[in-house]
Amino acid sequence: MATRAVALPPPQERLTPLTWAQRNLFDGWLNAALTLGVAAVLGWFGAIVWRWALSAHWEIVTHNLRLWIVGLLPLAEIWRAWWAGGLMVAAAALTIVGARAGVRPRVLFGLWGGTILAVAWLFSPIRLDQIGGLYLTLLLAVVSISASFPIGVVMGMGRTSSLPVVRLFSTAYIEGIRGIPLITVLLWFSIFVSLLSGETMPRVARAMIGMTVFASAYVGEIMRAGIQSVGRGQVEAARAVGLSGWQTMAFIVLPQAFKNMIPALVGQFISLFKDTSLTVIIGLSDLLGIGRSLLALTEYLHDVREVYVFALVVFFIFSYVMSAGSRALERKLGLGER
């Protein structure tokens, strides 16, 4: 008589800490030696760092938090910065909650659009060179990636164009800029613009232009990869069914390309965020710049370790959180739900 096969749960394997350690740390004498050796070095090193951290002069951070966050923004205007920061944090929190709850993307875009408008309005009376610290770092990164996006999209489409002349020009632009270091681009724009227009344009604006141009080449390369990731078969099917070249691009290629580009674009933003630290070389007071300026004061002359460790920690936290968020976003998009 045939019996129905019933699906049973798997046998439970109880992993005590001992068996886990046995398997993962002391598996064989090489691993055991490695574990002990590495643990010893780690312990010794960790103790040194811990002792230093407890006795370090953290006043350079704690007494100057305002400088670190908004730079030399006049005290009377600080409220704008706090409101803007609060709005962005609220918008971010709402986005996460809304995405989990399945709110339509259009609503989320609207939320961010409104937030950005509000922030722009809050900051409108402020001069560009009054902003510093963490806010300047964020401002540089956001402005650069946003302004570079349209240029990059156009260049990327030109890079994959069927017209050889357009392709040549776009390739020259993208590969030419990618071939030189960012600091060269920044110095170029800083010197070039000041030479030609006198000293009229604030340094922050020059840095923004430089970073935008630099970023546009990388966005262009991402766009190219995005377009090429849409299989040839898609274009053939669209042409076979009668869609024109532009219709194919608009309805079939670009929607799929943009979706495929999102992880790379977020990665590029994170990269740009870290690269804003280079503006210290052209004299800007971003997060790193504030730190170095503080070091010039007599009371903080020897607090080198505190400044650079703090800068590393802040950058790490922002960057890591953004990367983790991007990975979560990728996983969510990968499910393909709408």
Partner: protein, 254 residues
Amino acid sequence: MEQATPRDGQPMIVLEDVHKWFGRLHVLRGITLAIRAGEVIVVAGPSGSGKSTMIRCINRLEAHNKGRIVVDGIELTDDLRNIDAVRSEVGMVFQSFNLFPHLTALQNISLAPTQVRKWPHARAERIARELLARVGIPEKAGAYPAQLSGGQQQRVAIARALAMQPKIMLFDEPTSALDPEMIQEVLDVMKGLAKEMGMTMVVVTHEMGFAREVADRMVFMDEGVIIEEGTPEHFFTNPKEDRTKLFLSKILHQ
């Protein structure tokens, strides 16, 4: 517009001494073929014989280098208007389906009619639903391609091609990428097209059972040339050329 020719009696598709090179590779070496309205042609041959290239030339996915191709009285040249006119009369079904993954099945089918023929959305949607019913999966209208099986995807692809109300349907190895148990459902739809709608069809396939049942004429190609053509009975019982016999012996002992 090129002067419309009288259709009755005139072939629907005419290929005259068509040559095609890919770089230095001579893929089509003088193809001459005439297909009448309502005929079902099955093209067979070893891989690399140029069969796919030939049918892709018919709707200008590839441009032929020499010779003439005339589709429903319209000659295929560099003239963009001619190319568009031909494409709106010829539907194509691909081996890898090529459904648009970011659109639902319904949207896949109704996109071209709304954008190219400028149909109102309501009409396009109605026709799309009818076509989905015709290919047997009306309940999948709101599904995305990733949620459909291979056989269902290919059937949606056929509906998408039919939405433009073509006079000719081209099939480029439509079942080669399908699991065996799904091949039959697609072949049944194609059979229905041939028998109930009297569609002019050019099918590149290895499915000899389908050929025997549905084809009016079979064409055997090898190395860019048509080796032999004739009715299915002629082909399977009494092929003339040696190369034809060799090919048939290799694929018929399944």
